[in-house]
């Protein structure tokens, strides 16, 4: 059956819009691809003008990164991010549920306090943290860094998980209550299983925030705990910047984000808008 004129126009319009959107995605991908290419670029053509696309690939940058112990930085990053995320989930989940389900006295004030904690700029918060930690000996410790990460991640977690809790149907809990189960039992056996997707999505975002974090790690982790972002200045040496190695660290730091973006896309909008958009 031949296409009508209108159908063809609609098709053409759709193609145009797809191309536009693809161009936007390409603008995002392009610098990342260029960085990925730098991982294999030999020093000889690194500074070629005009920049070259084709070259015999080398693995020398990987050797350097491994020899200089960047694996330890990777492990430090992983440990801090996982530890702070686990802590946040344990402490934050009951609070988010309580905000959603019960009439709390001064609820608005408490919620605003949680939100304001999240919004506070790290640069203002790191000053008292640094001074207090210097006094009590928590500088350069894992405990200190993990606790500092609670300031932005716990508030984020409570706030966003609260938006998931609001969507839980109350009927199941009421039925369990009517059967005589105590509230704590209902929370563990009825609410938590229903809430699991929300908990996972929010916790993964917390992991990413901790994984990405720079300023606290830089100032509070100091010399002993170098997370991956903090290790980057080591690649700016007296002989110049190690561009290939820098790209490797960049790509490794980007890996978890790439995974999360494809698995969690619906929840990212909710997370980044602090639960304001359902996504």
């Amino acid at each position: 059956m031949p296409m009508s004129v209108r159908e063809r126009a609609a098709r053409r319009r759709q193609l145009l819009f797809t191309l536009l959107a693809a161009a936007g995605a390409l603008a995002v991908v392009f610098p990342v691809l260029w960085m990925a290419l730098m991982m294999f670029k030999p020093e000889a053509v690194m500074f070629a003008r005009p920049p070259v696309w084709r070259f015999p690939p080398t693995l020398e940058h990987f050797d350097y990164v491994i020899e200089h112990g960047f694996v330890w930085n990777l492990l430090a990053s992983l440990f801090v991010a996982v530890a702070s995320t686990v802590l946040v989930v344990v402490v934050g989940t009951p609070a988010a549920y309580a905000f959603a389900r019960f009439p709390i006295r001064r609820r608005d004030d408490l919620l605003l306090f949680v939100l304001a904690t999240r919004m506070a700029p790290p640069v203002a918060l790191v000053i008292p943290f640094y001074l207090i930690y210097a006094r009590v000996g928590l500088l350069d410790t894992y405990v200190g860094l993990v606790v500092a990460y609670l300031s932005f991640n716990l508030s984020f977690y409570v706030w966003v998980l609260w938006s998931f809790c609001r969507e839980l149907p109350v009927e199941l809990e009421e039925a369990a209550r009517a059967d005589g189960y105590p509230r704590a039992h209902v929370l563990v056996r009825v609410v938590l299983p229903l809430l699991r997707p929300g908990i996972i999505a929010t916790a993964v975002l917390c992991f990413i925030f901790a994984w990405n974090e720079f300023l606290y790690a830089f100032l509070l982790g100091g010399k002993t705990i170098e997370t991956l972002p903090v290790a980057v200045p080591k690649l700016i040496t007296s002989q110049g910047v190690k561009w290939g190695e820098l790209s490797i660290v960049g790509i490794v730091a980007l890996m978890p984000v790439l995974v999360v973006v494809f698995l969690l896309q619906r929840h990212i909008v909710r997370g980044l808008t602090m639960g304001a958009v359902k996504g």
Partner: protein, 300 residues
């Protein structure tokens, strides 16, 4: 009566239970946020010699801050950054959202890719753009700046005239996709009925957009603009890693100023006063955000 009230609305008669649930989180937040804030406020009211707390100083530190030309300069830089970056991100993001909303194909690939920059570590953003704009051999610096003679023999991050613009454009690159996807999610959740009615009445696409989409989307737009304002205002990492506030003070935003006052100059009197001022401002921002989400968006 008693039995009825116990069964409906799970909230009644909960007694101390919700407070037990909230206590660990709230106590933690008090320790990691409220105590540091109060400590900073306490320090800001004293004479500080490095980290040593001196005599009560009243508001002397604040008076010194408000007459500090470098402070006002950094406020100006932050204001300029926001004034250019946020409208650009919003305008481009809105256009992008409208495009995405037109039944674009391959959405399952395009949408995740667009999420990447907003989830990306600042350190990765810094590395990416350091490479793209490196000296005279970076892909962009060679092909754009050198070839067209805009800037030769100098890294853009060392150029007093262009460094701030470069940082702004990097922020636009990083955050426009987020604005686009958030508005797209908003567009997708709009009710269909008004649009059917508009189509029946023969409204043009432009009329539909102005009379329906804009007002329906306005609360969400306010939320997103507020979020972008807040985030752009506290931007630190990317600037710190790419220019460290330089050259000179050309990109020294308020965050950078605060950082340098503590960790470069060890002027804790000025720094703690700045921190308190920033904190109060952000509390007001947070309150605005809270009110918009609660009353306009009716999210809770």
């Amino acid at each position: 009566m008693y039995l009825v009230s116990r069964r409906d609305g799970a909230g009644d008669e909960a007694g101390w239970f919700p407070y037990v649930l909230m206590a660990p989180a709230l106590i933690t937040l008090v320790v990691v946020a409220l105590v540091p804030f109060l400590y900073t406020a306490y320090l800001s009211l004293h004479e500080m010699q490095y980290a040593r707390v001196g005599n009560w100083a009243g508001f002397a530190n604040y008076a010194r801050l408000l007459t500090n030309a470098r402070f006002w300069h950094s406020v100006g830089i932050s204001a300029a950054f926001i004034a250019v970056a946020v409208p650009l991100e919003f305008g481009l993001g809105l256009l992008g959202a409208l495009v995405l909303n037109q039944g674009v194909r391959c959405r399952s690939i395009i949408v995740p890719v667009l999420f990447v920059p907003s989830m990306m570590a600042p350190i990765v953003v810094a590395i990416l753009w350091k490479i793209m704009l490196a000296g005279s051999w970076g892909l962009l610096s060679y092909n754009l700046l050198e070839r067209f003679g805009i800037l030769t023999g100098l890294s853009i991050f060392a150029s007093p005239a262009l460094a701030l613009l470069a940082l702004i454009l990097i922020d636009v690159w990083q955050w426009t996709p987020f604005v686009m996807l958030a508005l797209f999610a908003g567009l997708q959740s709009l009710p269909l009925m008004p649009y059917r009615a508009a189509a029946v009445d023969g409204a043009t696409p432009l009329q539909t957009f102005r009379r329906l989409t804009l007002p329906l989307l306005a609360p969400l737009m306010a939320v997103i603009v507020l979020l972008r304002l807040i985030d752009a205002f506290k931007i630190f990492d990317t600037i710190f890693l790419l220019t460290a506030g330089g050259p000179g003070q050309a990109t020294e935003s308020l965050s950078l100023f605060t950082y340098k006052t503590v960790f470069d100059f060890w002027d804790l009197g000025t720094a703690t006063a700045t921190a308190v001022v920033i904190w109060v401002m952000f509390f007001l921002f947070s309150n605005a955000f809270y009110q918009v989400v609660k009353r306009k968006l009716r999210a809770f």
